[in-house]
Amino acid sequence: MSGRPDIGATLAVLVVFTLLALVAPAVLETYTLTILLIYGLLAMSLGLVWGFGGILCFGQAAFYGLGAYSYAIAAINLGESTLPFVLGIVVPFLFAGVLGAMMFYGRLSDVYLGVITLVVTLIFFKFMNSTAGPEYAIGQARLGGFNGIPGYQTLNVPGDPDAYIFGDDFYYLVVAIVLVVYALLRWLLASPFGRVAVAIRENEARVELMGYDARLRKTALFAVGGAVAGLAGTLFANWAEIVTPGLFSLGQSAEIIIWCIVGGLGTLVGPFVGAMLLGYLKFALGQQALIDNTLVLGLVLVLSVLLLPRGVVPTLGQWAGLARRRRPRRAPRRRLRPARGGADG
């Protein structure tokens, strides 16, 4: 409450995640693990703006795709990955800031906000698909229409374009990035800015009556979410080594929302876990041709909403809390934590 993050819980999550990340390559290829982590990062970006800011953005894929395209275009023009990597975060951050300012200062209601973010994504999708001609180029980078942009410089050690970071090294870099982003977001949510953002989700009118400018704070939170999604897009561009308009697709937007719902809103870990689980399921289903994998994902969503309406992680947290309360002599009684208010996990 006083602006200090729950350091114990944050450290516990970081340690468990690190251990799992070190053990996981024994079970799954780092190539697959890397994309699951990127999906997790992307889900965390929506988990931040939706779960903590109460802003349901149907177009998180727009910032994801923008990050990927910004990186690819800059990498072709510059031939070195350091500045493109930064641009892959800064461009979506600025775009989300401008879009958010237009929506929040325009006092749009939640429904219109959802519609506008969805439409923006679809505009990107449509536009990028229609850029096949040579006239659609930024510097030396042709946008490539439906085929996208291949063949750009992938991540290298800063200052040394020949020292590529790929394979297992890239995996461990992504692990480190996830750790840093998680810790930074936990710090942000525990700061006065983060607490006011959560308060806005709870009751925007009251927060305004306290003297806080809710529009400014929502815009800032939206921009931070855009930056994290852009970072995920930048990492994706380095993982896939090609960016295509599919990054802006309706399916991609919907998938991010489903990850958050299944994993559980109101936490950062929930959307991350949801993305990892469903991402892996999609990957596993992709190995067979018997069942259409979108049907299975749809079924998982329906079952999740019916059986675990709060999502996987909050439900597990609830069960753990119940188990602790059944052992009152051993475990000291804990302070009751608000169901929706805290910056848990």
Binding site: S2, G3, E202, N203, R206, V207, M210, G211, G341
Partner: protein
């Protein structure tokens, strides 16, 4: 005129063809506690919302501490140092009592001062035992107290309260009257209220609204004795 902290000139609020507030001229002194009363639909809550920035008047102007605030957003009005409590308790249900009040104190007093202001508000409103409880799990009267805590924790010099006693028990109302008297030593207060006993306990000057206009403004005893006031409350032609 120097000690007038709030003034309205011809404030009018139209909804379609209806004038909910109709050319109201009103003023409040720095040390004053003023109750606004009137039957349902008299326009007092609409007038209150205009003062708080929750509605922009169709005509007229509002001056707070000499500054024209007509059309300002609620957060801009609150930043002048004004505490606002709405008719329906407006609190953050998912947050604890402590955090609700802390967020209000934080903006004004910063991290250093906020904890002290929270402890003070919890004690004054007898909310200490409920401090860790999510506000969504509290009874109506308790939520009213939490909202009052939000108001007083920000140390305002002008307080606007819309029906603060609604839904409270007799004990709670008694404690509320004492808290309001205490706030009144440091701040000017406007209270919209229905509970006549409560008004008698706290008010000196009362402004009576009827059909969007000010019907009369006088000492509480004179207002209670006025046949026009009795008539409008009983539904006769005012």
């Amino acid at each position: 005129m120097a000690d007038i902290v709030l003034e309205t000139r011809g404030v009018t609020m139209r909804f379609g063809g209806v004038n909910a507030v109709d050319g109201v001229d009103f003023s409040l002194r720095r040390d004053e506690l003023r109750c606004l009363i009137g039957p349902n639909g008299a326009g007092k809550s609409t007038f209150f919302k205009c003062l708080a920035g929750m509605l922009t008047p169709s005509a007229g102007e509002i001056l707070i501490d000499g500054q024209e605030t007509t059309g300002w957003h609620p957060h801009e009005i609150a930043r002048l140092g004004i505490g606002i409590k709405t008719q329906v308790p407006s609190v953050m249900d998912g947050l604890s009592v402590r955090e609700n009040i802390w967020l209000a104190a934080l903006r004004v007093l910063g991290r250093q001062g906020a904890d002290g202001a929270v402890a003070d508000a919890l004690e004054r409103l007898d909310l200490g035992d409920l401090a860790a409880r999510p506000v969504g799990r509290l009874a109506h009267g308790e939520r009213q107290r939490v909202e009052l805590g939000i108001v007083i924790a920000a140390r305002p010099w002008l307080v606007l309260l819309d029906e603060p006693a609604a839904g409270m028990t007799a004990d709670e109302i008694e404690r509320l009257a004492a808290v309001i008297a205490e706030i009144g030593r440091q701040a000017a207060i406007i209270i919209v209220e229905h509970d006549m006993q409560f008004i008698r306990a706290i008010a000196r000057t009362v402004t009576v609204f009827a059909q969007g206009r000010i019907l009369m403004e006088d000492h509480v005893d004179a207002v209670m004795a006025d046949p026009r006031v009795r008539d409008i409350y009983l539904g006769k032609k005012g």
